[in-house]
């Protein structure tokens, strides 16, 4: 489990798979998702295996998610914004499409 060493001074709320999540303002999105305890950001289009960010520096592409309706965004290269909408990138595994964050906690 990830945690923050220190509390944030200012938070914004974003929607992650339909659930409101409070994250530090100006946080890196992948970092914020991990700190919020999100269990997966995408499922592989090949086998449907769950994935979370791996490299945090833009090279592994395991942190891909749909951000504000645009798929295939690298969350490790994004900063959070109030009201940002993040959806799990479902690869070819369509059954995951409607999944809410709660199902994976």
């Amino acid at each position: 489990m990830f945690r923050k060493l220190e509390p944030s001074t200012r938070e914004v709320s974003i929607l992650v798979s339909g659930q409101r999540v409070e994250v530090p303002a100006n946080a890196n999105l992948a970092c914020a998702l991990l700190a919020a305890g999100v269990q997966l950001t995408r499922v592989s289009p090949v086998s449907g295996a769950p994935r979370l960010p791996y490299c945090m520096m833009g090279v592994c592409f395991d942190c891909l998610a749909t951000i504000d309706g645009i798929p295939n965004r690298q969350t490790c290269l994004e900063s959070v914004r109030e009201g940002m909408i993040v959806e799990i990138q479902d690869g070819k595994a369509q059954y995951m499409h409607e999944a809410s964050l709660g199902d994976y906690e």
């Binding site: 945690r3 970092c31 994935r51 979370l52």
Partner: protein, 458 residues
């Protein structure tokens, strides 16, 4: 900014890119710097300008904070800086970039690739499971927002791994175990480079202190680890390993892997400049002269992207490359060029004295670079296993590039970044050929995946 023109376009705002930009700007060149991150620093100084508590500053240490001495002047210099921007195409005299706020083309007399390093792929069983990240990623989380994982297991070897474990200890975060894979036999390889290491007492002392802190911290430390597997089905459940004598296992939720760093060569490879295999660092690197000039006269390379040198030398190479570019473009007379570069080259030579020792000491075991377990996933994107190389070879596949069409390895979104090295070394292991003979994936533009809209929006 279509048809805009600069003397020098720099890709990457790490120590090399920022230092190059500062030098070039100081001598009156028009400069544009592109970087994927929202703030300057690259990975070593990632988000270095963020304001932090005393405690976090202390945890991250003085070497990290030193990045401000480059990043602050860089931000103050009035350099055309495009944060959050991806350069997806480079060509002689021009490049294409895209960002959230738009995209464009830029004409540039010279392009400097300061694209840095990435962590060497560490293909072992279970490395794709949620809960597994690189040690560098763990450090980035710490730098970004002071985010840590309790009771994590760290696996691998190399200075960065020992540094992040130290930072965790300094932060009071409990570390479950450190599984050190540094092969004891490497001491024989490293021995002949000890003299160089002894000429760098400050690096050497820092390294010894990192190791002794870990040893005295009470963190379970297992050396000589020869094989590792991460257990779990949908997330990490634990780790199994063997040190050549007996088997061990531990339950854990987070694993951080590290086997050193290698140049991030996708951009220089796609630019088609010459690359060669570096035996000591076990990776491909662009062929460059001491000033960073590649085999393409329009492309120069500085920093870890041209071969791993570390932050201090990366900054020096950035300056050296900028001076060479100014000289080649006629902004700097030969005599001035020599006067400016000689002391920088000397400093870099001095800074690099310890490098051969580090490279030799921490060269990962062959089996961690080319897995022997046929079931191990080598291409994370397309989920191609190690055994498929042997199968492809038996079907007449001549090398890594053709392996793409056999299996789709290297054709996922990461464009071979996470499997390239493994595939090359596995082909070598199975055929007895050298990496230079086997070659790499043939990389093409776009250097990063972009949408048709982004290309069309030019």
């Amino acid at each position: 900014m279509k048809d805009a023109h600069v003397n020098l376009a720099i890709i990457g705002a790490g120590p090399a890119g920022m230092s190059a930009a500062l030098r070039a700007k100081q001598f009156g060149l028009s400069v544009a710097v592109f970087d994927e991150q929202p703030t300057p620093g690259g990975q070593i100084y990632r988000d270095v300008m963020r304001s932090r508590s005393q405690k976090l500053q202390h945890v991250l240490g003085a070497d990290y904070a030193a990045g401000k001495n480059i990043a602050q002047p860089f931000l103050d210099a009035g350099i055309d800086y495009y944060p959050g921007s991806t350069v997806w195409r480079v060509a002689p005299g021009e490049l294409s970039w895209t960002s959230k706020s738009g995209s464009g083309e830029l004409l540039a007399d010279r392009i400097l690739a300061a694209t840095g390093a990435m962590e060497r792929p560490f293909p072992i069983g279970g490395w794709t499971l949620p809960g597994v990240m690189t040690a560098g990623a763990a450090q980035i989380l710490l730098k970004l927002d002071g985010v840590v994982a309790d009771d994590a297991v760290f696996i691998g070897c190399g200075p960065l791994l020992y540094l992040i474990v130290n930072q965790y200890l300094e932060a009071g975060v409990k570390v479950r175990a450190l599984l050190d894979t540094a092969p004891g036999t490497n001491w024989f390889r490293a021995a002949k480079h000890v003299a160089g290491a002894l000429c760098s007492p400050s690096y050497l002392m820092k390294g010894l202190k990192l190791l002794s802190n870990i040893q005295s911290s009470g963190v379970p430390y297992y050396s000589g680890v020869e094989s590792v597997r991460i257990m779990g089905t949908t997330k990490v459940a634990g780790v199994h390993w063997n040190d050549g004598r007996r088997d061990f296992s531990l339950e854990c939720e987070n694993v951080f892997l590290h086997q050193g760093i290698i140049p991030n060569i996708n951009l220089t490879m796609a630019a088609r400049c010459d690359h060669h295999w570096d035996d000591l660092q076990a990776c491909f690197r662009p062929v460059v002269d001491p000033f960073g000039r590649t085999s393409c006269d329009w492309l120069v390379c500085a920093g870890d992207g041209a071969g791993i040198v570390g932050a201090r030398s990366a900054a020096l190479s950035g300056e050296i490359a900028a001076l060479a570019i100014m000289h080649d473009l006629g902004f700097l007379k030969a005599a001035d060029f020599r006067r400016e570069t000689v002391p920088l080259l000397r400093l870099r030579r001095k800074d690099q004295r310890i490098r051969p020792f580090l490279d030799a000491r921490y060269l990962p075991l062959a089996r961690f670079r080319s897995p022997t377990d046929p079931q191990v996933t080598i291409c994370r994107c397309e989920e191609v296993r190690r055994e498929e190389i042997s199968r492809a070879l038996s079907e007449g596949c001549p090398g890594p590039n053709q392996f793409k069409s056999f299996t789709r390895a290297g054709m996922g979104p990461c464009q071979g970044r996470m499997c390239g090295n493994t595939v090359v070394e596995s082909f070598c292991a199975d055929t007895g050929s050298s990496p230079d003979a086997v070659g790499y994936y043939r990389l093409r533009m776009p250097v990063k995946p972009v949408t048709i809209a982004e290309i069309g929006g030019l």
